[in-house]
Each structure stands twice: as structure tokens, then as C-alpha cells.
């Protein structure tokens, strides 16, 4: 118990402290290294916590304020891991950006501080036991990234950030209303005060919660957190924000923030299901999921900006995961959990390579990016394999999850499969069609060679590959316990 709370302390404390420290020293030469160091220690703490949970099962800490179970601990580890690799990537990337003179000292400080702040917010989201605090942390995550999106101060960047700010603000406000309703229903059962918002208590008594109120609450929670997940038609902020910010931020936004929002959504769904004993929530989520898949897939066909394209693909994959959670059942849920994991790994890897590619060509326009295989094999093959992974080609992990989800779908909801098939097919064709010319062919004149950050890309792709071929036992057990929780 005690040491666990220490682990938690490190896990949450380190990013905060670093944020403070980097707010002053963020522009020094060694700042990126510090950034990496902090993220690394966060990751270590995350691993420690994971081991604890693996040993002792779910645990409460900090006076019921924190709750750690299989579901959120694996996301916590994932979050800290990806943030670490992103920090490694951003070292090279941001140095290049400074050489190009796109960011100055103050912005570097700001960037590093906010990066750590963002990580802190996400971890808080995951680990807190209090639904209200969950909401606060979510808002915090938004606020800490808004100004990172507009880091470059270009008109489009500011526009994107503004949309991000307003839309997510409004959305999150809806979520707060949902939370209020949740509290309203909960205090009938659990009495007033902080107890009534603790997830552990809520899930314990979810059977007694008032169904009408909860279904009402779910609408607002769905719209609120759905906005952050980037579900169609609440997604419009996402492509802008992801394409305009610095690439490391796009990587963590795509790879992590969406996951976190989905996590919140799923937590709420569990409560609602427990209360209403119906499949309404599931149906709603499936609807949103399918809509997102289709719209994203068809939007993919007409993209010109590379980062924008991949943010649409994030929408598509979040749609798949949402759909699977909505579908429920052992296979689908397992698939969805796996999907969240492998998607964030693969997608952030893709964004790393994309960042390098666009730096090499000084543009994000895809028709001006060519010949990556020859120009920089790591970037080229990394991008190619990343895309093959993301479109669900074995032996990468995403295939495994999609395999489970699709088969579960045709078992439990066969009528949805044609739409799913259509969406996946179109997305596949669209992405391949765009990526193929970029990686192949001769080196164009506007391409400048550069040293790419090898480690993050390779690490991520290796993990995705391994998970595709062999899921270690502990991961498996986690997933199964998580599936049990979400039943």
C-alpha cells in the first residue's frame, strides 16, 4: 500500500516538478535531455506501479483518491512510455525547428513545460478515482496543449488552436453537466460529499443508480468526452489541431489524448450499463464508431497535407475502438483494448517518421514529398511499415485487434459488417494510394538529408510487431481482467 502510493507519487510528481523546472530552464542546451530523463523516470515509475498491480491486483491509494486497476494501469504505462519516446524524438526534431528559426527561447521553455504538464494531466486522468477530478484533469489536458498547438503563431496554427480551445471547451462543459447529473443520481444512493463521485463506489452501486438520470447523463458525457475522442460529428477540431501543432505534440495528441478520452467514456459507459441494464449506451457508441470510420475513411481519400491525413486515420481508429467497446462481449472488448494499445504505438511512430519527412522536404504537402526509401531508409521504411500496420496488415498488432473486432461483429451484429468492410477498405486504399508515391521513386531536388531519431520509431514498430505475433502473458491477463471489469 505505502510503497504503491510512493510509486503514484513519483508517477504524478515527476512530471509536475519537471514542468516547473523546465518552465525556467526549458531553453538550455541540456533541456531536451532533462525532458527525456523526466519522462524516463515517469515511465520507470509507471512500470513499478504496473508490477504492483500485477502482483496485488487493483488498489486504492491516497485515501481512495487514486484507484489503479488493470484497465488504467496499462494505459498509464503506455502513456508514460509513449511520452518518453516522444521526448526522445522531440530532442532532434525541436533542435531542427530551432535551426529553422520557427521557435525561440521563450517558446522552447513553454514547450517543454507544457509537454510535462500535459503528461501530468493525462496520468491524473487515468489514475484518479474521482469522476469529478477526472473531468478537471481532462480540461487541464486540453488547456495545456491549446497553446502548444499554436506554438508556431502562424495564422492557421492560431485558428486551429482557437477551434481546439472552443470546441473542446464546449464539449468538456457538456461532460461536466453529465458529471453533475451523475452526482445527482449517485448522492441518492451514496449520500452527499466526495464519496458519491468515487468511481469505485459508483461501480459498486451502479445497479441502484436511477436509470433515467444516468441515460440523460450519458448523452452529455458521450458528447463531452466524445468530442475529445474525436468522434464524428464532433471531430472537426481534430484534423486542424493535429496538423498545425509541432509534430511531437501531434504524436502525443493522436497517440495518447484520444485514448484517455476514450478511457473516460468507457468508464462512464460501464456505470450507465450497470444502471440501465440495456444496450442503449452500446448502440450509441456503435453508431458514433461507424459514423467516424466511414467519414474518416472517405475524408482520407482527399487529403493533401500529410499530418492531416494521419489525424483522420486516428479518427477512424478511435471509431473502430469505440465501436468495439459499444459492441461489448469478450472478443470485441479484448480487441478494443488491444486496439487502443497498438494504435497509439503505431500512430505515434508514424508521426515521428512524418515529422522527419516533412522536415526533410520543408513541407507537409504530400505531393512534394518523394523518394523516402532512397533519401532516408529509416524514415521511408518506417513510414511504409507504419502505414501497413495502421491499415491492419499482419503481422502487426492492429491486424490482430481488427481480426477480433471484425469476427465478433459478424457474430453479434452482422448487419454492421458491410459498413465496417466499406470503411476499412476505403481507408486502406486511400492511405496506400497516398503513401506509395511518397516513399518510392528517385530523390527529389527539394529533399535535404537529415539525421533521423532512430530509436523511437524502431522501438515502436518492434513493439507493434511483437504484439502482433506474441502477446506476453501478463499483458494477456491484464486484458482479461480489464474485460472482466468492463463486462
Amino acid at each position: 500500500m505505502a510503497d504503491t502510493s510512493i510509486m503514484l507519487l513519483i508517477l504524478l510528481g515527476v512530471p509536475l516538478v519537471c514542468a516547473a523546472a523546465l518552465a525556467f530552464a526549458g531553453d538550455r542546451k541540456f533541456a531536451p535531455e532533462i525532458n527525456i530523463l523526466c519522462s524516463a523516470s515517469t515511465f520507470a515509475a509507471g512500470l513499478g506501479l504496473a508490477v504492483e498491480v500485477y502482483m496485488q491486483g487493483p488498489m486504492l491509494a491516497g485515501g481512495k483518491f487514486f484507484f489503479v486497476d488493470a484497465f488504467n494501469v496499462y494505459l498509464a504505462v503506455l502513456t508514460s512510455f509513449v511520452s518518453m519516446t516522444t521526448a526522445i524524438f522531440s530532442r532532434r526534431y525541436m533542435r531542427k525547428e530551432r535551426e529553422h528559426g520557427r521557435v525561440g527561447h521563450r517558446r522552447m521553455r513553454f514547450y517543454h513545460a507544457m509537454f510535462q504538464m500535459f503528461i501530468f494531466a493525462m496520468l491524473l486522468c487515468l489514475l484518479t478515482n474521482n469522476v469529478g477530478v477526472l473531468w478537471i484533469a481532462m480540461e487541464l489536458a486540453t488547456l495545456s496543449t491549446v497553446l502548444l498547438v499554436s506554438l508556431y503563431r502562424t495564422p492557421t496554427a492560431i485558428e486551429a488552436a482557437w477551434k481546439y480551445f472552443i470546441l473542446c471547451g464546449v464539449g468538456i462543459a457538456q461532460a461536466l453537466f453529465g458529471t453533475v447529473l451523475l452526482y445527482f443520481a449517485a448522492e441518492k444512493v451514496l449520500g452527499e460529499g466526495g464519496e458519491a463521485l468515487l468511481w469505485t463506489n459508483l461501480s459498486r452501486v451502479s445497479g441502484h443508480l436511477e436509470p433515467t438520470v444516468l441515460s440523460l447523463a450519458f448523452v452529455f458525457l458521450m458528447v463531452g468526452y466524445g468530442t475529445k475522442v474525436g468522434l464524428v460529428p464532433l471531430h472537426n477540431w481534430l484534423p486542424d489541431a493535429h496538423s498545425e501543432g509541432p509534430t511531437p505534440i501531434s504524436a502525443v495528441l493522436s497517440g495518447l489524448l484520444l485514448n484517455i478520452a476514450l478511457y473516460a467514456l468507457v468508464r462512464c459507459k460501464v456505470l450507465v450499463d450497470g444502471s440501465t441494464q440495456s444496450h442503449h449506451a452500446g448502440d450509441i457508441m456503435m453508431g458514433f464508431g461507424i459514423l467516424s470510420i466511414l467519414v474518416a475513411a472517405f475524408s482520407l481519400l482527399r487529403q493533401k497535407d500529410i499530418k492531416r491525413m494521419f489525424s483522420y486515420s486516428s479518427i477512424e481508429h478511435m471509431g473502430i475502438a469505440t465501436f468495439a467497446f459499444g459492441l461489448g462481449g469478450q472478443l470485441a472488448t479484448f480487441g478494443a483494448l488491444l486496439h487502443m494499445l497498438v494504435h497509439s504505438l503505431a500512430k505515434s511512430a508514424i508521426f515521428f517518421t512524418v515529422g522527419h519527412a516533412s522536415q526533410m522536404h520543408k513541407t507537409q504537402q504530400m505531393d512534394r514529398i518523394r523518394g523516402l526509401f532512397r533519401g532516408n531508409p529509416l524514415v521511408g521504411w518506417g513510414l511504409m511499415f507504419g502505414v501497413l500496420a495502421i491499415v491492419g496488415m499482419p503481422p502487426f498488432g492492429i491486424f490482430t485487434s481488427e481480426f477480433l473486432i471484425l469476427t465478433a461483429t459478424i457474430k453479434d451484429a452482422p448487419l454492421w459488417t458491410p459498413l465496417l468492410l466499406l470503411g476499412l477498405g476505403v481507408a486502406f486504399a486511400a492511405l496506400l494510394r497516398k503513401v506509395q508515391p511518397m516513399v518510392s521513386g528517385e530523390i527529389p531536388p527539394n529533399q535535404k538529408p537529415m539525421k533521423a531519431a532512430h530509436l523511437p520509431v524502431m522501438l515502436h514498430m518492434a513493439l507493434v510487431l511483437i504484439i502482433g505475433l506474441y502477446i506476453p502473458d501478463f499483458l494477456n491477463q491484464w486484458f482479461h481482467t480489464a474485460v472482466g471489469l468492463l463486462k
Binding site: G132, I136, P155, I166, V180, S299
Partner: protein, 221 residues
């Protein structure tokens, strides 16, 4: 005093809140908007205090104080300063046909009343009847954000929406747990700073706060 009067006061304040909301919906002048917003915040904090007094929830005093300081004093002040700095006090924005907006607003009130009916059945609180008002305020805030095309007014709409939420919290339940209240307040504070920064950025980049021109990011044909 006995509960009925309290209920009356409470619903009276609720009515005022709704009124201010509608007022904001149709108010063209920025200063007018800010004042209306401040008034709304005042009614809100009053209401909170009363509820807290009746229900004997002392942490509601705190939150009422928070509201007072934040929404009645701080935010309007910041907005004032910004508008002064950015020299946009003269600006009067056109709103697309007011009667229509009003009608939609009324429709929203009815809708939210109809929506919260079951909840009202369940609740035992004296404040329960005001939940519909709260929801309506939220919706109207959203509607305001949709109809306005000026950054500041959008922000004000956003804050009005927050007010509605807060009002819901106090009316549906006797306020959220203190932690949450504080957190929300903190978030709003940060948000305030951020949109402050934004106003500068937008103004420097587009040399006006009209957000109509922020429509470049689109799936061009």
C-alpha cells in the same frame, strides 16, 4: 425563513439568470454583454449562498464566494482590460436575425423543461424546479456561441454556458464536492488567461477579433 419563501427566492433568481441569458443572446454591445455577464454571475452567487444557507452546506458559501470573485469581478475586469488594450470597445457586431434566435431560445427552454421533468420527479430538493432553467442556460450559451462571430462574445457565451453548469450543480444537487468546485474554478481561471493570450494572438495576426476570417482550415475543393 421557511422553505417556500426560499423556493420562491430561488426560482426568482433562476428566472433572473435565464433573463440575463436571453439578454446576452440579443445584446450587441460588448460592454453591455460584459455587464450582463457580471449580473448573471451575481445572481448565481446569491443563489448559491442562499441554497447553502438553507441546506446548511457551508462549502457552498465558499463556492459562492468563488463565483462572486471570479465571475462577477475578475473575469469582467479581465475582459474590460483586454477590450481596452485591443481598442475594440467601439465594435458592434451584427447578429443574424434576433427574433429567430429568440424563438430558438424559447424552444430550448421548453425542450429542457420537458427533458428534465423526470429528474424533477425524482428530486426532493427545494431547488429541483430550477434544473430546467440551468439546462436552458447551458443551451442558450451554446446557441449564443453559434450565433456570434466575435471572439470576445464567443468567450462570453462560453462563460455563460459555464454559469449554466454551475447553476445546474447547485440546483440539481446542493453543489458538487468542494474538490470539484475548486478544480472547476481553477480551470476557468486558466481558461481565462488562455483566452486572454488568444485575443492578443488573434488580434496581432488578423488585426481584428472577428473570427469569420478564421476559416482557412477546411477540406478545400
Amino acid at each position: 425563513m421557511e422553505l417556500t419563501t426560499v423556493a420562491h427566492i430561488n426560482s426568482f433568481l433562476a428566472a433572473l439568470v435565464l433573463l440575463t441569458a436571453f439578454g446576452m443572446l440579443v445584446q450587441k454591445r460588448i460592454y453591455g454583454l460584459i455587464h450582463l455577464f457580471a449580473w448573471q454571475g451575481l445572481f448565481l452567487s446569491l443563489n448559491t449562498a442562499i441554497v447553502g444557507y438553507v441546506a446548511g452546506k457551508h462549502h457552498l458559501y465558499i463556492s459562492s464566494l468563488l463565483t462572486l470573485s471570479l465571475k462577477v469581478i475578475l473575469l469582467p475586469y479581465i475582459l474590460h482590460v483586454l477590450i481596452h488594450r485591443l481598442k475594440i470597445r467601439k465594435e458592434v457586431e451584427t447578429i443574424v436575425n434576433i427574433p429567430m434566435t429568440m424563438l430558438i431560445g424559447i424552444a430550448l427552454v421548453i425542450f429542457s423543461y420537458h427533458l428534465t421533468a423526470p429528474v424533477r420527479e425524482l428530486s426532493t430538493l427545494i431547488t429541483r424546479s430550477t434544473l430546467a432553467i440551468a439546462l436552458a442556460t447551458v443551451m442558450i450559451g451554446l446557441l449564443m456561441m453559434i450565433t456570434r462571430r466575435h471572439a470576445v462574445t464567443q468567450i462570453i457565451g462560453f462563460l455563460a454556458l459555464e454559469n449554466g453548469l454551475f447553476f445546474a450543480a447547485t440546483s440539481a444537487t446542493y453543489g458538487m464536492p468542494l474538490v470539484v468546485e475548486l478544480g472547476v474554478a481553477l480551470d476557468i481561471l486558466i481558461a481565462a488567461f488562455i483566452f486572454g493570450i488568444f485575443f492578443f494572438h488573434i488580434h496581432t495576426t488578423f488585426d481584428s477579433l472577428d473570427i469569420e476570417q478564421m476559416a482557412r482550415l477546411r477540406e478545400e475543393d
